[in-house]
């Protein structure tokens, strides 16, 4: 299984587009900036919702109102981040799949954080109906916030491990 994954990564990083990206002095930074721009939208809107779940600005908007208002830009940010991230990954795919921090980031932290985020978005309407934010909502908001922070820690650790 791992050998198949390695073969796929090897093929990916030798495709003409990826080879051009690797060899170009100018193409790589814009791809990195694309990934970071997408992450800004994704993380910024996620954390805004998480902080609302924790009670920040509860007099202004309900959890559902904020979740609905951010929904489109939230997932647009995710799509941009994935596009940029995939291109960054493809340049050194075989190196990334062997990297422990990358494996933890993509194999464990990202799926768990993503799943919890989807649950939080889907539960926003139910949690908004209560007079006080339910404890479960606050725990879910804090957990998601910490999970995204963990994803960032794993990402920054990639070059060091």
């Amino acid at each position: 299984m791992y050998n198949l994954l390695l073969a796929l990564c090897h093929w990916l990083q030798n495709t003409p587009l990826v080879l051009w990206l690797y060899g170009s002095n100018w193409a790589y930074p814009p791809v990195q900036a694309t990934h970071f721009t997408g992450l800004s939208l994704w993380i910024g809107t996620n954390v805004a919702l998480d902080l609302r779940l924790l009670g920040l600005g509860k007099g202004r908007q309900t959890i559902a109102e904020l979740s609905d208002a951010l929904f489109i830009l939230n997932w647009a940010g995710f799509a941009i981040a994935i596009l940029g991230g995939f291109l960054l990954f493809s340049v050194s795919a075989t190196g990334y799949v062997a990297n422990p921090a990358f494996r933890i980031k993509l194999g464990i932290l990202l799926p768990v954080a993503l799943l919890l985020h989807i649950v939080n978005q889907r539960k926003a309407r139910v949690w908004s109906q209560a007079a006080e934010t339910p404890v479960l909502a606050k725990v879910a908001g804090l957990a998601e916030l910490l999970l995204w922070l963990s994803v960032a820690i794993a990402a920054v650790s990639i070059p060091f491990v």
């Binding site: 814009p30 800004s40 910024g44 809107t45 805004a48 109102e65 830009l73």
Partner: protein
């Protein structure tokens, strides 16, 4: 004069202590990235709403009231960590024109952001968002994306960072 100040900063005992351990440098990087994502993601949501992107029923002013606190938290985190990261190699940035350009872009982006925050509630009360406000929102987004792009270009173009 400026070089002497940079040199003093780089050899300040606090900066040397922080810069000498890999863990503290990694923590600074995580705070810098995460803070910047919060900052840019939050302001982008308000700017894009001013430009007509997002949920039609939600005004930019209402969104801003909810997420400006997230934005300022991000700004403080990214500026503080960014300053310490800069201080650790201050003399290497002395002749780095790309770095000065980044600082200029970030300062202009902050000015745009402050003007938007001051005025966004009053724009809510108008029948339509003024054209100059839309231009300001567009310039603000362009400057923040420019800050990301130039931030990732600095190591490639100058070998510092």
């Amino acid at each position: 004069m400026l070089f002497a100040a940079f040199n003093w900063l780089e050899h300040n005992s606090w900066i040397v202590a922080i810069d000498s351990t890999a863990v503290e440098s990694a923590v600074l990087l995580i705070v810098h990235y995460f803070g910047f994502f919060l900052l840019v993601g939050s302001i982008a949501v308000v700017n894009l709403r001013l430009l007509g992107v997002g949920v039609p029923g939600e005004t930019a002013g209402r969104l801003g009231k909810q997420i400006f606190s997230t934005m300022w938290t991000g700004l403080v985190l990214s500026l503080l960590s960014g300053f310490i990261l800069f201080a650790g190699s201050a003399t290497q940035y002395y002749n780095n024109q790309v770095f000065y350009l980044k600082v200029l872009i970030v300062l202009l982006a902050i000015v745009c952001t402050v003007i938007i925050q001051w005025n966004v509630s009053s724009w809510d009360r108008l029948p339509a968002v003024p054209v100059w406000a839309k231009w300001l929102a567009f310039v603000s987004i362009a400057l923040w994306i420019g800050a990301i792009l130039i931030g990732v270009e600095i190591p490639g173009l100058t070998g510092v960072g």
